[in-house]
């Protein structure tokens, strides 16, 4: 148990410093998603973001994804999952497919479990990060806590990254 905690902490520090170093680079998002994907041994990781230039948008657009499955390109901002995340400021875990609630969390039919995490600050939401696995009960308490902390850590960095993007491009262009 001790080793596990130490490893999780070490990983958090490693990824945190890596993200910090690349906070102003284009590959910041890639680093964040890829590392989360690898550490959690997920089968799909998708980062959905609001466009910071347009206020009151009605959808979050897929910004970067990793995994073999084709995820949806956008999620409506009034979907049950997004509303819950915004309102509760909590992360959501789904251990098994088939429940009526939070089914949007599984981005492909073959996915069996998943985690949805808020990306943002206390006062502002930038997007949602979703991880899926092909196996039921894939995610453990440690993985959940780790990802939750990583997203909290990355929230501030996202703020800087998006601000810089905003100034540079006067709006993010989604493909």
């Amino acid at each position: 148990m001790y080793n596990k905690i130490v490893t999780a902490r070490d990983e958090l520090v490693r990824i945190g410093s890596l993200l910090l170093q690349n906070m102003y680079h284009e590959n910041f998002i890639t680093l964040f998603v890829d590392n989360s994907f690898d550490i959690s041994l997920s089968d799909l990781a998708c980062l959905y973001l609001y466009n910071p230039v347009i206020p009151n948008q009605n959808e979050l657009v897929l910004h970067y994804s990793r995994g073999n499955c084709m995820a949806v390109k956008s999620i409506p901002s009034d979907s049950e999952l997004v509303v819950f995340l915004n309102e509760s400021k909590e992360a959501v875990i789904l251990s098994r497919a088939g429940t009526a609630c939070f089914s949007e969390l599984l981005l492909c039919q073959e996915m069996q479990s998943g985690i949805a995490l808020n990306i943002g600050l206390e006062s502002q939401q930038f997007g949602v990060f979703i991880l899926n696995s092909l196996h039921a009960n894939h995610y453990t308490q440690e993985q959940f806590e780790f990802l939750n902390k990583l997203c909290t850590l990355a929230g501030g960095m996202f703020n800087y990254w998006l601000q810089r993007k905003k100034i540079k491009n006067k709006g993010i262009r989604y493909e």
Binding site: F84, E90, V92, L94, T99, F102, Y139, Q141
Partner: protein, 858 residues
């Protein structure tokens, strides 16, 4: 002959008299007629010489009825003198009017003879009503034009009068082609005449002309076509109608088109606000009908529109159909969402001056409605409603918190826009509430200056009551009253003989006089300053910042040289506010004054001057022989707050040889200090001075600012057992006073002190009292309690929260679910399983979330 005379003689005298009288009158009448005939003939004959004079004389002597009665003589003369006479004296108009009224052949022929240009259409119009006249009309036309019936002539004399086109077409059914040609005439009246008749013709060529007429430049033509045209292509016609409703610039045309849609195409239209431009939406809003739900909803979407034109049209419509009244009356504080929504909509309506819904206040006691009315009437709306509102609200206000907002808003309404009647209500309210300090405070704060003639007497009556509260607000109110009256009364009180007025009233009069800011009264105010207690003089000294500095300084210098100790002490107290550097030396010198009050005032003045150098030099004053000087000096040193001072105060407490009184003064000084270091000093003293623990805890209890509390909590985290115990005692002692700021600290969830704050809050009994609030009947209080417990987040708090699992308020149950997830207990899981069947979707969603999270917890 004799027989006739005999017969007459045999008649009774009365009959004879009557008969004779009748004959006499008939002769007189005939004579009068002959004279009148000759007179008018004479006037008419003068027409050739001077037509204008003839007209003036004729019209002065004869009215319309008299002229009409003399039509035959005028006709005769017109035949001799020409038709110009008829036009000049306006007989053509009179005859046309008579023709339209009587509709006889005689009148028809008269008009045709003497006013053919002007009256042709009227003749045609009469023929439509009396068809037999058409023969004469047609004959005359044939004769006058030398050919057949020329409709163009009739059309030209038409001026857009309404007439029965169907009947017209029936008279001229052989003239359809001519009518069709007339539809292309450049004169609108001609086109109107033709189209009005052709509307009842069904031939294809005519239909085309009618379709074209839907876009005729003359609105009257568009209007009649829209009203009477009945084409086969229903959908095409509906589209034209709807387009007309949206885009036609003339209201009457749009209204006719809308009528037609409502009558025949009601099932075809659907109003979707997004589909219309601003102008189109405005046109539609003008025409909406009061009884249609869909149209009401359409209008409601525009009530909060940023375009004021649209908002105005929507508000007018909603006012007409009573929706605004409904929005106004159907509000309740138990559903704040609806209240806020309705309030916002009504406010928007009031911004475009649609406020008649406020009249409903006369028939309602609904507090929510009255609250809305009061908020709107402050800015706009009929001022007469303010009187009604005032009467109602002043009658029902019970002094409770729930109605305070309504009461304040109503008082503001009266103050800002109230009528004289409302101001009298204000006066009665001032009389009625004289024993309720809070209410008086509201009333006095908002006393309007313009109500001086009504309120002055009652306000001054209160001013003379020694125990009246609130005094400050009363002075503020009196400042708004007529200055000559207030000034003379203040001077009278200040200068009155001892015993006439109580001291407290004198003080108030002096304060009021100073606050009036009358420079010519400065000497009086300064000379009477000793009447104020020193502490009060210190707060009062701010008044002098409004006076010219040099003037105040010069007067103080002069007064300082007098022998009066009380005056010197009072002057020293106000010096810092004046901020004159030259006067600072006076303060330093006064530290060694014989009078204790002067010494106290000097210490405080140095603190306020921020003259730390002089203050440090005067530290010995802590050992002053007079106790109150020592105490006040310690307090002053504490407030001055330099680190060196605080250390010196600490050393005094630790000094074994120091007198107890001085030590207590030093602790008091530390309590008064605003510096965070004072907390450190007091905490360190907790370890070292067991004899003064109680006083130190009391001193620490004075620290209630958020920053101070945070420092105290840090002291708790890092402190020794004694210090930790001391902080717990401080929190216990402070109780409710520190709960709010500590909860605020707790909300900063990232703060590392969170567990310590929670631990301390457990000691204040906050958790138990909050758990009790979970049973309150007010759902807002229950939800607030649940939020607090979630925030504290200790095991004890979560356990308390679980009791509310069956709360009817969904937000409370959501908080329970979150608590159960944190607790992660077996019994919690059972409750969660129950909550999975909760009727509220939100609660079920949170329950699933919690259960899923618990699955991964070991």
């Amino acid at each position: 002959m004799n027989e006739i005379f005999e017969f007459i003689r045999s008649l009774p005298p009365l009959l004879l008299f009557l008969g004779g009288g009748s004959v006499f009158f008939i002769i007189i009448f005939c004579l009068w007629r002959v004279i009148a005939f000759k007179r008018i003939k004479k006037i008419l004959k003068s027409f050739n010489k001077d037509p204008d004079l003839t007209k003036t004389v004729l019209l002065n002597k004869y009215g319309a009825g008299a002229l009409l009665r003399r039509s035959s003589i005028i006709e005769q003369q017109a035949r001799i003198l020409g038709l110009k006479l008829i036009r000049l004296i306006g007989m053509d108009t009179l005859w046309i009017g008579q023709l339209l009224k009587k509709k006889t052949r005689k009148h028809l022929l008269r008009v045709l003879e003497f006013a053919p240009d002007k009256g042709l259409f009227s003749c045609f119009f009469v023929c439509l009503k009396k068809r037999y006249l058409f023969i004469y009309f047609k004959k005359w036309l044939e004769k006058s034009t030398g050919g057949g019936l020329k409709l163009g002539n009739i059309a030209h004399s038409c001026r857009g009068e309404r007439f029965d086109g169907k009947a017209g077409l029936a008279l001229c059914n052989d003239k359809v082609d001519e009518l069709r040609e007339l539809t292309g005439d450049v004169e609108w009246n001609v086109r109107y005449f033709a189209i009005n008749m052709l509307l009842h013709e069904k031939s294809i060529r005519v239909l085309r002309a009618l379709w074209d007429s839907l876009t005729d430049p003359q609105p009257l033509i568009r209007e009649i076509v829209i009203t009477h045209f009945k084409p086969q292509e229903k959908e095409k016609f509906y589209n034209v109608l709807f387009q007309t409703v949206c885009d036609d610039p003339v209201y009457q045309v749009r209204a006719r088109a809308w009528d037609r849609i409502q009558k025949e195409y009601r099932d075809l239209y659907h109003l979707e606000p997004r589909n219309f431009s601003a102008e189109q939406a405005f046109h539609i809003l003008e025409l909406l009908r009061p009884d249609n739900k869909q149209e009401q909803n359409f209008a409601l979407t525009f009530l909060d529109h940023s375009n004021l034109e649209l908002r105005f049209a929507a508000a007018q419509y909603l006012e007409k159909c009573g929706i605004l009244n409904k929005l106004f009356l159907e509000v309740d504080f138990s559903d704040m969402q609806i209240f806020e929504r309705n309030f916002s909509l009504l406010k928007k309506a009031s911004e475009v001056n649609v406020t008649s819904f406020l009249a409903c206040i006369a028939n309602t006691q609904n507090r929510a409605s009255l609250t809305i009315a009061s908020s709107i009437l402050v800015e706009t709306g009929d001022v007469d409603f303010i009187s009604i509102l005032t009467r109602k609200v002043f009658a029902i206000y019970d002094g409770g918190k729930e109605m305070e907002q309504l009461y304040r808003a109503t008082v503001r309404c009266v103050a800002e826009r109230g009528t004289e009647e409302a101001l009298f209500f204000y006066k009665y309210e001032l009389e009625k509430r004289r024993m309720q300090k809070q209410v008086m405070s509201i009333l006095l704060q908002m006393v309007p200056a313009r109500a001086g003639f009504i309120l002055y007497d009652i306000l001054f009556a209160y001013f003379l009551q020694p125990f009246f509260e609130p005094k400050e607000q009363l002075r503020m109110a009196l400042k708004k009253m007529p200055v000559p009256k207030v000034l003379s009364r203040c001077l009278e009180i200040i200068r009155a003989k001892q015993g006439r007025y109580q001291h407290i009233i004198r003080i108030e009069a002096l304060k009021l006089l100073g606050e009036l800011n009358l420079h010519y009264c400065l000497e009086i105010v300064l000379e009477h300053l000793p009447q104020l207690p020193l502490a009060e003089a210190r707060t009062y000294s701010a008044v002098f910042s409004q006076y010219p500095r040099e003037l105040v300084a010069a007067k103080i210098k002069k007064l300082f040289n007098t022998n009066d100790n009380r005056l010197r002490a009072a002057l020293v107290t106000i010096l810092p506010q004046i901020g004159h550097k030259e006067l600072q030396q006076l303060v330093r010198d006064s530290l060694t004054d014989m009078d204790p009050d002067v010494r106290i005032a000097s210490v405080w003045a140095l603190v306020e001057f921020d003259d730390l150098k002089a203050l440090n030099a005067a530290f010995e004053i802590l050992r002053d022989p007079v106790k109150r000087v020592r105490e006040q000096a310690a307090e002053a040193f504490g407030k001055a707050g330099s680190n060196a001072n605080l250390d010196r105060l600490k050393n005094i407490v630790l000094d074994a040889d120091e007198a107890a009184d001085v030590k207590l003064a030093a602790i008091k000084g530390l309590a008064c200090s605003g510096a965070l270091k004072a907390i450190d000093v007091l905490l360190s003293l907790l370890d070292k001075c067991d004899d003064y623990t109680k006083q130190i805890i009391q001193a620490l209890s004075a620290k209630k600012q958020t920053e101070e509390l945070m420092h105290l909590i840090e002291g708790f985290r890092n402190g020794s057992p004694k210090q930790r115990q001391g902080v717990i005692a401080v929190i216990e002692q402070s109780g409710q006073a520190v709960e709010e700021p500590m909860l605020e600290l707790l909300k900063q969830s990232t703060h590392s002190l969170k567990p310590y704050i929670a631990e301390l809050l457990e000691n204040t009994g906050l958790i138990e009292s909050t758990i009790r609030k979970l049973k309150d009947r007010n759902p807002n209080i229950r939800q607030h309690a649940a939020d607090i417990l979630s925030l504290i987040g200790t095991h004890k708090a979560y356990r308390g929260l679980v009791f509310a699992a069956r709360d009817p308020h969904e937000e409370v149950r959501v908080a329970v679910v979150k608590a159960l997830e944190r607790l992660n207990s077996e019994e919690g899981k059972l409750i969660l399983k129950e909550l999975r069947q909760d009727p509220d979707k939100k609660v079920r969603r949170y329950t699933v979330w919690a259960l899923e999270k618990l699955k991964i917890k070991v």
